[in-house]
């Protein structure tokens, strides 16, 4: 098997996948537990969503610092390839974010409960972040196709 030396950006992408899965699973568990006793649109979600987003951001900051410290000076360096991979991954995942925003727009026009609007946007954030991180990892491991 060919050698694969994981750089700083790839390690952060892996951390992003793990943190995203964990924080979304916890949010979903809290929401579904609460929804067991309340109709879904009336389920309190704001506190759980804010905590979930806040904790995920904090954890990613801490993980980034730990990875940076353990990787060493040269390992933290990034170059044009990292920028190209990031741009390609963002481009790939943008579609999901737009789809979520459009769905939220339609929900708002239909005057659905804010619960559905907030959650469809949150779902869009989650899937778009996941796709971005997975695309990054794939590009780092399998190579960057020419445009």
């Amino acid at each position: 098997m060919a050698e694969h030396d994981m750089g700083y950006e790839e390690k952060i992408a892996w951390a992003g996948v793990i943190v995203s899965i964990v924080h979304f699973t916890i949010y979903l568990s809290v929401l579904l537990t609460r929804a067991a006793t309340t109709p879904m649109p009336e389920t309190p979600y704001v506190d759980a969503m804010l905590w979930s987003i806040g904790v995920a951001i904090m954890v990613m900051i801490v993980v980034s610092i730990i990875v940076a410290v353990t990787t060493g000076k040269h390992g933290r360096e990034t170059d044009i390839r990292d920028k190209q991979i990031t741009a390609r991954a963002e481009f790939t995942s943008r579609g999901l974010l737009i789809a979520a925003a459009l769905t939220a727009l339609i929900f708002a026009m239909l005057e659905l409960d804010p619960f559905w609007i907030a959650n469809v946007i949150y779902l869009g954030f989650f899937f778009s972040a996941m796709l971005e991180a997975i695309t990054k990892i794939a590009l780092y491991r399998r190579g960057m196709p020419a445009w």
């Binding site: 060919a2 050698e3 694969h4 030396d5 994981m6 750089g7 790839e10 040269h74 360096e77 990034t78 170059d79 044009i80 390839r81 990292d82 780092y140 399998r142 190579g143 960057m144 196709p145 020419a146």
Partner: protein, 78 residues
């Protein structure tokens, strides 16, 4: 697996010809990360023309001695 790029290179051989130059040393001279040199050597990344010239300069050879590209004739034959 389909290679991400059809650009071929002789970086590995030229590194050794240039006095056992390591990937890290070449990366330092070119101003990219070691991971990028590894990706280019393995044909997983096609560098920009600017980086390609810098690699050739760092190895002390011409650009076409480092990088190659199969011609259209070869492609139709294969």
């Amino acid at each position: 697996m389909v290679k991400p790029t059809r650009v071929t290179n002789r970086i590995r051989a030229l590194r050794f010809a240039a006095g056992e130059l390591t990937q890290a040393e070449l990366a330092e001279r070119v101003g990219v990360t070691r991971q990028t040199i590894i990706a280019i050597e393995q044909g997983k990344y096609s560098p920009s023309l600017e980086v390609a010239f810098q690699i050739a300069h760092a190895l002390g050879v011409r650009l076409d001695e480092v990088f190659g590209y199969p011609s259209t004739e070869n492609r139709t034959e294969s």
